[in-house]
Amino acid sequence: MAGKQVIDVTTNRRHLEGLGTTGIGVGLVICVVGIILALIMNSVAGDGGHSEDHGDHSAATHEAGETHTDGHDKDAGHTDGHDGGEGAGGHGGGHGGHGYIDQYHWLHSYLMNFCYFTGIALAALFFVLLHHLAKAGWSTVVRRLAEGVAANIILMGLLSIPLLLWGDHVWLWLVEGAAEHDALLKSKEPFLNKTAWVVFTVAVFGIWSALVLVYRHFSIRQDVDGDVKHTHVLQKIAPPAMIFFALSITFFAFYYLMSLDAHWFSTIFGVLFFGGSLMAFMAFLTILCVILQKQGLLSTAITNDHYHDMGKLMFAFMVFWTYCAFSQYMLIWYGNIPEETGWFLLRQGGEQSIIPFTSDPTGWITFSLLFFVGHFFVPFFCILSRHVKRSKTALSVGAGWILFIHWVDMYYLVMPHVRSEHAITEQILIDVAFFLGIGGLFVAGTVFWLRQASLIAEKDPRLTESLAFENV
């Protein structure tokens, strides 16, 4: 087979220039649209008298058992296998029978989208670390883009501030005195306490940001001096950074997602969050590459062979996520231990029939089943073929679906804790509003970082290899 023609990267447009301003503008407009939508949603549903419902959160928490008189309390109280007033039950108490667009729902919505984008930025950091750890060749042409996405960790760190301020509306264990009435929370206090959580958040976002800046710094410096030494330095940092990454993303998932039901636990949870995020990042990167190439940037540098590999990784981590999700579900279902099954019962509408559409007034069982189909079967058949992975249009469709279904995954992880008793579609616009709000900032942030340097690692010693890469 004949070797590919040598590609001269200097014939490509490699700087965003004017497009950068447009990109940031688009991102900010999306963000504003999200904020406006959120405000509209608030004024439409805000008359439910929510403000007086939870002037005193801890009081509401204690009342949880009693306030659930609308027939749904069985589900919520049952979930954690303990008395009402904890976990999901506690939040249920807060909003009683009124319209429930309140700060619980707002902050859960925020948290879900925060985790969605933080996960993507973290996976981008992972991609950069892995590139250096494995001394990879093919990914050199897209590494600068990944570095740009990863730099959004700094933005996500800033966006964690609202959660740090009002976290007690989201995580019950943050509520003052919650552990007094809950032996389990008491026993977990060394981990689940405000100080540890704040210190953890500040520390990991700080170190992640530092890592991103270091990797970008040396990468961009190499554009100027072309010194191979920079590659060696980054390869040296990669192994310890990777160890830190593995531990930090695990505990991030434990703190931010798993502890939404502070009684529930699953050892695979961190791995699951990582797998889904990496899958979503590969989709994000694919779409980013397609958009840039549509704008005439990097037009010959990124070839179908690179798309093929990005598609393969997207597919691989989609399957990996499914594997981990199956491990988690199957083992908990088979073991059938109350302290574990509650988390899933919450997502299956309590003790109702698991046959879809039969007795599913809220839609949660149907949702869970469709979610599994949409997270595995749809993308499996969609991007299995190499022809799809080698076609920009087809792969973008698959990538778009992957990004959507990962969002649904975050919905699945977060939302049942605030609205498992409500119809799945009720007030979903608020979640979309936050998606647009944070997503717009994320896009603007990505463009902000990308426009500061060339879109490709100009003088990377492995660039030639990457440009000549053929996926056969």
């Binding site: 050892t267 695979i268 399957v319 594997y323 073991g335 010693p461 053929e470």
Partner: protein, 490 residues
């Protein structure tokens, strides 16, 4: 050729130069010299060392025969299993061998899909090792059933007694998972060997050899059309084998994880078992290849770079296993379940604490030496670490099986498990089976995937040629040119 297995000519091809990929075959080989070198192992009469090794292995295999014979005649009472520890050495050995049987197909299938060209030097021997390890593994459930002559009942065969296995039991899933894996691995191994078997056939002088290799190479002529079909089939088999590599040990982990027993029931077990399997499998590959490459004069084909890469994989998977240990410990506390917390503290500080610390020091601590390149490229150190990992991974299964069973929910039912000499003899004997099969493989089948190694060499030449035109030149590391994996597939 160096005089001792511990010595390595310098400079070897492990240097790091981001502008050039180091060569995967050193020593200035041509296609012909590769064929000569690899075929000579099979064609020349065996050395004394081979006879000695074979005699020892075969004797140990005899021990296995004796132990199994005694067991079948007498019953499983000859083992140390009893209440409360009903799963003893047999299950530990089963999981141990199945784990080892993961590296080969991982190297040949997953690394193939990842376009990792360095797999070509080691895949054949690793796959052979995989097959033999799975054979060893399969022995143990077969004899653990008590009445071994009814072992075929594990398969859902229709029979007049309407006896069916329990489909809800992961032990039955194991039967399917392991037998499927074995079948595909065997097919994959055999298919990969066909072109090389044809080479042996064409070179054979004795009519019997020609007949045997001719039969096995099923009419391979090396035509363009055959290669085309062959490579397609190889890719498809690789894609089918990949999920199997992951599924087998996942299903093995279900044996434990579906139970409610503290220490067994945890959701990370499937990926953790898979990582552990790859870990132990790679360690066994290093254990076997370090001496083999010396005795069969293959240091130019199984180069130091191959070994260094394997050591990196050992280090990585060792740390994944360490991550799983740590997560399990954390969640055992975090979950707040007192028996679960107890199970883990008991593992580390209870009556079997010694085995836990053997496991941790061998699996988590010993591979840490590979942070140093000097250690990664030192044959003695890597051999010792690979032995440590083999020991550690056996003890990991010991810790999981024994400590959880011996001290479960009710202190009144606790016990202490002691293996008998028959247990130990059976385990030692299984190494006899393994090494006997492996030595026969070395003797009669091509140890290296010659055709694949030659393909990487031609890429290497092509890349060197292109670099020459670019004016960049190759680094001054011996006479070898760099190989870039890209751009020159054959």
């Amino acid at each position: 050729m160096t005089t001792s297995w511990t010595e390595e000519p310098l400079p070897h091809n492990t240097y790091e130069d981001p502008t050039h990929r180091p060569p995967l075959v050193t020593g200035g080989h041509t296609n012909h010299s590769i064929t000569e070198r690899v075929c000579s192992i099979v064609e020349n009469p065996p050395t004394k060392a081979w006879y000695v090794a074979f005699a020892i292995s075969f004797s140990v295999l005899g021990l296995l025969g004796l132990m199994i014979g005694y067991l079948v005649i007498t019953g499983t009472g000859v083992w140390g299993v009893n209440n409360p520890v009903g799963w003893g050495y047999a299950i530990i050995n089963f999981v141990f061998w199945v784990g080892i049987g993961h590296a080969g197909t991982l190297i040949s299938a997953i690394l193939f899909l990842c376009r990792q060209k360095w797999r070509t030097g080691i895949n054949r021997a690793a796959e052979a090792m995989t097959i033999f390890a799975v054979i060893c593994a399969g022995t143990f459930p077969g004899i653990h059933v008590g009445r071994a002559w009814f072992a075929y009942w594990m398969f859902p065969l229709p029979n007049q007694m309407e006896m069916w296995p329990n489909f809800r039991s992961p032990l039955l899933w194991d039967v399917f998972a392991v037998s499927t894996y074995f079948t595909i691995s065997l097919l994959f191994w055999y298919m990969g060997m066909i072109p090389d078997l044809a080479t042996l056939r064409d070179r054979a002088k004795h009519p019997l050899r020609r007949f045997a290799y001719g039969l096995l190479s099923i009419g391979w002529s090396g035509s363009n059309r055959q290669w085309h079909v062959y490579e397609r089939a190889y890719l498809i088999l690789a894609a089918l084998a990949t999920p199997l590599v992951l599924s087998v040990h996942s299903v093995v982990s279900f044996d434990f994880a579906v139970a409610q027993l503290p220490g067994w029931h945890t959701t990370i077990l499937p990926p953790y078992f898979v990582a552990g399997a790859i870990f132990s499998g790679f360690a066994m590959v290093v254990t076997l290849l370090v001496p083999c490459r010396h005795y069969f004069n293959l240091k130019d084909i199984i180069t130091m770079r191959h070994l260094e890469n394997m050591n990196k994989v050992i280090m990585l998977t060792g740390m994944i296993v360490g991550y799983a240990y740590a997560t399990e410990f954390f969640i055992a506390w975090y979950g707040g379940n007192k028996t679960e917390t107890f199970a883990f503290i008991n593992r580390a500080f209870g009556p079997y604490g010694w085995s836990y610390w053997i496991m941790v020091s061998c699996n988590v601590i010993s591979p840490q030496i590979f942070w140093f390149k000097k250690a990664r490229t030192n044959l003695v150190i890597m051999f010792i670490v690979s032995i440590f990992v083999n020991i550690g991974m056996w003890f990991e299964r010991f810790v999981i099986v024994i400590s959880s069973l011996a001290n479960d929910f009710l202190p009144s039912s606790w016990g202490y498990y002691r293996p008998t000499m028959i247990d130990v003899g059976t385990f030692v004997g299984s190494f006899g089976l393994f090494f006997t099969l492996f030595l026969l493989f070395c003797r009669f089948l091509p140890f290296i995937a010659m055709a694949e190694v030659k393909a990487t060499m031609s890429e290497q030449r092509h890349a060197a040629h292109r670099d020459g035109h670019d004016g960049t030149g190759a680094p001054a590391h011996g006479s070898d040119q760099s190989a870039k994996p890209a751009g020159a597939a054959v």
